[in-house]
């Protein structure tokens, strides 16, 4: 292995521009003659829009124009589409009520778009918002899910009882039977708390229309520019792809929240043609809180059937999932195929049945947030397994050992559709037990007790499905798009390389990791490789970055394109060296004839491709530029074990995480430094969910946690150092044998933390605690138990 090859922890190529303040985030960009937009948003959760009077505001200083939902409707602007169709148990398709970019007759959540003001300066636009007169007829709101399901207040008049769909997976009858055979049934009720993703960069957009050729350009904070081009172009604004360019250079974090096609993108693009000038909009953080899609928000009842030895026989799950006021781009896939299909976890449970009722409410749409469905699934499973351990008297380690899928059982077909290709769950599990010094816990507990503190240790195992996804499988399950990835490797005449990838880098380090793959495969040094992403005008196509798919789906595309380069170059080298192609070896950037000292450097062959004087021109075109699309054969299945140790002050309810150990199998590691960073970041969000973060609406649908003063996210002094390592099992169903790492932390951490807290407090009689386990909640639980 050389310093820059696959497996090397090389420093990130992209860091320098960020460290010197030269990133190109959307709000950093300005266009000549640019105007500024501010958006008037509904202060009510649910109201009829009786009248929107913009006449006075239009006359305000600097205001160029103001548009409302009626203006967009008059132009026949379409509805924001949902990318995944789910069918209910009875076969009927999900309800897909319209989602106009700006409200036309009704507002459905606090923050819903009512009007856009376009002015010469941002302050003028903001000032004019205050003088728009809106006559709202406030309606009763459906906020919590039970209330919504009663149908008293209808978010969409044509959706009875606010139920978007009632979905199921698994064999109901087999599962019922497993319960009748059970020696013991353990049940649990859980809430998976609603979260607000809060990437540090607020969303922003700059839209521009060129009347001379009818072309639109939209700079936007997205994780998937081509997906936005497709959704907005084809479904909302009817702009064909060749007339619409989406650019998303540097993006300040996404975590899922920047996957979706948001209303502001369509509003700005449409309005830029109306005023024939570029328009910029940047969300204020308080707008982000009420417009970025939220995450999680499940209520679940689950039961586990066990035999007399503690073996799992069956699992029955019933979940209500909040989908918010509208179906967001992938909102319907999260509580279904990213959730119910993972319920086997790493265990051999033979029968599983899960039903999910998805509910419209007058809240911000809910969609994918780091982990998306898999944290909800893992939390429920690992809490339930711990409860089963407690109720059967089997040690939490032992009950997991007994039930874990064994390495010789792969490929493993689960009862909930997925087939795990490869894994070794006991390996990560036993490694984590050692790394956390699980055996030494009782003495640590004793010293905590001596100091008047309560100490606990909590385990979580997890499996997740990444590498989203084999297009045909996803399509059969309702996806309305293909989910392959593309790459283009352009070798320049002097042998340097530009890689165009359809994935998107918003912190994951693709400019480094992908350059390592190219460098390793083509044998060129890493400073000769440039990675380009995020511009539909440059990159041929792509499905973007989410679901930990970039390396597992985008990586093999890069490899494939590189291999096409090698294949063609070998033919060129054979011609120049006057040898047969079969005799040409390619290694470390050198073409040679096996067994001789005759060779050509990578750069020499590249040059020959562009200066084809001595060239097999009858057989080959000049140039060295190859395209590849890769459609995965299966999902990839990262798995692992997280162990959390906490110390609790029973006087204050304060929980301190003293140690956190994560052992993850993410397949082959390209850059271990970046991998550790991804796991650490995910763990912080998982620990945040467990201890601090929780989105709260009041009964009228006002968001009570609408700023960083009320929505608490982990800060440096809330977290410990994180003990992170990998146990790679190779053999995943893609040529790089990679699995994906972006989400493992946020999936494994929450149950490990809560299991640790419950372990610490079990001697005080505390049996349950909900997330976020804030000090007041912990204190209350202790006092209620006594």
């Amino acid at each position: 292995m050389t310093e820059t090859n696959i497996g090397a922890p090389i420093k990130r190529v992209e860091d320098k521009r960020f460290l010197t303040g030269r990133g190109r985030y959307t709000d950093d960009l300005n266009q000549p003659n640019q105007l500024y937009a501010c958006i008037l948003r509904s202060p009510h959760a649910h109201a009829n829009l009786k009248k929107v009077d913009v006449s006075q505001a239009k006359a305000a200083p600097g205001v160029i124009d103001i548009f409302t939902g009626s203006d967009m409707a008059a132009d026949e602007v379409g509805s924001l589409p949902c990318g995944w169709q789910i069918h209910s148990k009875d076969g009927s398709p999900m309800h897909e009520p319209g989602h106009p970019p700006m409200a036309v007759t009704k507002v459905r959540h606090v923050g819903d778009q009512v009007a856009i003001v376009i002015a010469e300066t941002k302050s003028q636009a903001r000032d004019a918002l205050d003088i728009i007169e809106v006559d709202y007829e406030v309606l009763p709101a459906a906020i919590n899910m039970d209330e919504a399901l009663s149908g008293k207040a209808l978010v969409h008049d044509d959706v009875p009882n606010n139920m978007c769909f009632d979905w199921e997976i698994g064999d109901k009858e087999a599962t019922e039977n497993s319960f009748s055979d059970a020696h013991k049934v353990v049940s649990i009720e859980l809430v998976n708390n609603r979260l607000i993703p809060n990437a540090m960069e607020p969303r922003a957009a700059v839209a521009q229309y060129d009347p001379s050729n009818g072309n639109y350009t939209l700079h936007t904070t997205t994780q998937n520019p081509h997906v936005i081009r497709l959704l907005m172009g084809a479904f909302v604004l009817q702009i064909p792809e060749h007339k619409l360019r989406i650019i998303s250079h540097d993006v300040g974090g996404g975590f899922g929240s920047k996957i979706f096609h948001y209303a502001e993108e369509a509003i700005l693009t449409w309005a830029s043609a109306k005023v024939s000038q570029p328009i910029k909009w940047t969300a204020e953080r308080s707008e982000s809180f009420v417009t970025d899609a939220h995450g999680r928000d499940h209520e679940t009842k689950a039961e586990l059937a066990l035999d007399k030895d503690g073996k799992f026989l069956g699992l029955r799950v019933s979940t209500k999932a909040n989908i918010g006021a509208y179906l967001s781009t992938f909102g319907s896939s999260v509580p279904t195929y990213l959730y119910g299909t993972l319920l086997a976890g790493v265990y051999k449970t033979p029968a599983i049945y899960c039903e999910v009722k998805t509910v419209f409410t007058n809240t911000v749409p809910v969609d994918a947030y780091r982990g998306a469905g898999r944290p909800e699934c893992t939390y429920l499973l690992e809490r339930l397994v711990n409860k089963a351990a407690k109720e059967t008297g089997i040690d939490p380690v032992e009950i997991r050992r007994i039930n874990m899928i064994q390495p010789d059982q792969f490929p493993y077909q689960t009862p909930v559709a997925l087939q795990y290709d490869v894994g070794d769950y006991p390996r990560a599990f036993e490694t984590a037990l050692k790394a956390s010094d699980y055996e030494g816990f009782s003495s640590r507990r004793k010293s905590s007790e001596d100091n008047g503190k309560k100490r606990g240790i909590g385990i979580s195992t997890y499996i997740e499905a990444c590498g989203i996804a084999p297009s045909a499988v996803a399509g059969a399950l309702g996806a309305r798009a293909g989910l392959y990835e593309s790459a283009q490797v352009r070798v320049h005449p002097t042998g340097s390389v530009t890689l165009y990838t359809g994935t998107h880098n918003h912190g994951q380090g693709h400019e480094t990791t992908f350059a390592q793959i190219v460098s390793d495969t083509l044998g060129v040094s890493i400073d000769q490789v440039e990675v380009s992403h995020g511009d539909t005008g440059e990159v041929q196509f792509g499905m973007g970055t989410y679901g930990s798919r970039s390396l597992a789906v985008g990586g093999p595309a890069v490899l494939k394109a590189c291999n096409k380069i090698i294949e063609k170059s070998k033919k060129i080298a054979a011609h120049i060296l006057e040898a047969s192609v079969d005799d040409i070896d390619f290694k470390d950037g050198v073409y040679s004839i096996s067994g001789t000292d005759r060779e050509l450097a990578f750069g020499e062959v590249s040059l020959a491709a562009y200066v084809p004087h001595n060239y097999p021109i009858e057989e080959l075109e000049p140039g060295l530029d190859e395209n590849a699309f890769y459609d995965p054969l299966n999902f990839s299945f990262p798995a692992g074990c997280h162990i959390c140790e906490v110390e609790i002050d029973p006087e204050t309810g304060e929980v301190e995480i003293t140690d956190f150990t994560a052992v993850d199998d993410i397949g082959r590691v390209i850059n271990p430094m970046i991998v550790e960073g991804q796991v650490q970041g995910g763990l912080a969000q998982g620990i945040g969910q467990a201890l601090m973060e929780g989105c709260v609406y009041d009964n009228e649908g006002q968001l009570l946690t609408g700023s960083y003063m009320d929505y608490t996210m982990p800060r440096a002094d809330n977290l410990p150092n994180l003990n992170v390592s990998t146990e790679s099992v190779l053999g995943a169903s893609n040529p790089l044998e990679v699995k994906g790492v972006g989400e493992v932390g946020s999936i494994g951490a929450p149950p490990a933390v809560i299991n640790a807290i419950l372990d610490a407090l079990s001697s005080l009689g505390v049996e349950d605690i909900s997330m976020p386990a804030s000090p007041s909640k912990v204190w209350q639980a202790i006092h209620n138990a006594q």
Partner: protein, 155 residues
């Protein structure tokens, strides 16, 4: 409109601004120094931290006119040509950034810490970062970077 004059990264600047212009707006919009970021509207995230007369300050919480006559430095002014400031270099070495959005504020804040406390402990660093949010890194590598940067700044 009032005129405001200050020194930014060693250069004198002077402009007419609306009185309500925030320092961060002035830096980003008037001077084109977009390395200083805005992550919130409640003075909680620290993406906007710059130095005003050598001390870290949240430029979203200060009017441009309040910086009249001050020496302001921003992330753009730290490196010496192609050579990164030791704190910038430490962040690069230790993977102290992912999306990079919080990074300018983190680096500016960290330098002020080291100027105040030349040999901070891990605990000191974590406490000092109370005003800076990062959503990507889990802080582990930011803390590591700042400890290494503090050493390098002494050496």
């Amino acid at each position: 409109m009032p005129t405001v004059s200050m020194t930014v990264n060693g250069e004198s600047v002077s402009s007419e601004v609306e009185p309500r212009t925030l320092l961060v707006q002035y830096l980003r919009e008037n001077l084109g120094l977009t390395g200083t970021h805005v992550g919130c509207d409640t003075s909680q995230c620290g993406a906007c931290v710059v130095h005003v007369n050598g001390k870290s300050a949240k430029s979203c919480t200060m009017l441009a006119v309040q910086a009249e006559g001050s020496e302001v430095s921003t992330i753009e002014g730290l490196a010496d040509g192609d050579t990164l400031h030791p704190m910038q270099e430490a962040f690069r070495e230790n993977h102290g950034l992912q999306c990079g959005f919080c990074t300018p504020g983190m680096v500016m804040s960290a330098i002020d810490l080291v100027q105040t406390n030349s040999d901070p402990s891990e605990h000191d660093v974590r406490e000092w970062l109370e005003g800076n949010l990062c959503r990507c890194t889990g802080y582990h590598n930011i803390v590591k970077s700042i400890l290494a940067g503090a050493k390098a700044m002494q050496g």
